[in-house]
Symmetry: C2
Subunit: 142 residues, 2 copies
Amino acid sequence: MFLRIDHVGIACHDLEEKIEFYESTFGLTVVSREVNEEQGVREAMLHVADGPGGTSYVQLIEPLSPETAVGKFLAKRGEGVHHIGYGVADVTKALEEIGGKGIRLVDERPRHGSMGASIAFLHPKDVGGVLTELVESPQPKL
Amino acid sequence: MFLRIDHVGIACHDLEEKIEFYESTFGLTVVSREVNEEQGVREAMLHVADGPGGTSYVQLIEPLSPETAVGKFLAKRGEGVHHIGYGVADVTKALEEIGGKGIRLVDERPRHGSMGASIAFLHPKDVGGVLTELVESPQPKL
């Protein structure tokens, strides 16, 4: 079902400061910056590697306010890994399959994620404490 | 510097139960099981994807006792993502470069990791709360 580790989602207080850190320390490069009002985050995708199953990124996320889910995460746990995203070919089909096994879904239907992807989250309580995201990348334009 | 997301290290209470979960829910396959006495863990590597930069895995880790680092992590935070491992070509060189930038190193010199790899951890306090591992895979035998 999984084509790749799509990204590691890392929550931080200061997006620009953390981008500068990942660039200067590890040589990663920002390929996208977005504000996702629905998820209440400002974010950046940093390129790690390409493969036949797609690209892997570090995703840095800063909450738009303390009342957002990521804002509450930071207040409770501090900075660190917030979620893991795995690439799938078809997120609707993957949700059906996983939901059919009794795993609780945060998103019953896919919604818009970074860089035009269709995404959905699974409930961390049913995935061993890991907030798990399914990511279907957009089809390349012909 | 990073060739791939080598693995997501996930701490759990019951390794066999969690392996069964990842296999049956997501279709991942165990490619290695090891006990690492030095790190105080029993672990399994589950294959996610191959790419030109190497292979990506989910690593499931169960502490050998509550007194180990992972045992203490579980007691404090519960099950979830414990660390992120990134593939590098030369872990000794990467440690020198990163240490030279003032990042504190958990391991000044590489030690033995999963599947014959040379690994080293960076201090999470200097990497935005993320326990970060560098992984140099063994050279293929000719």
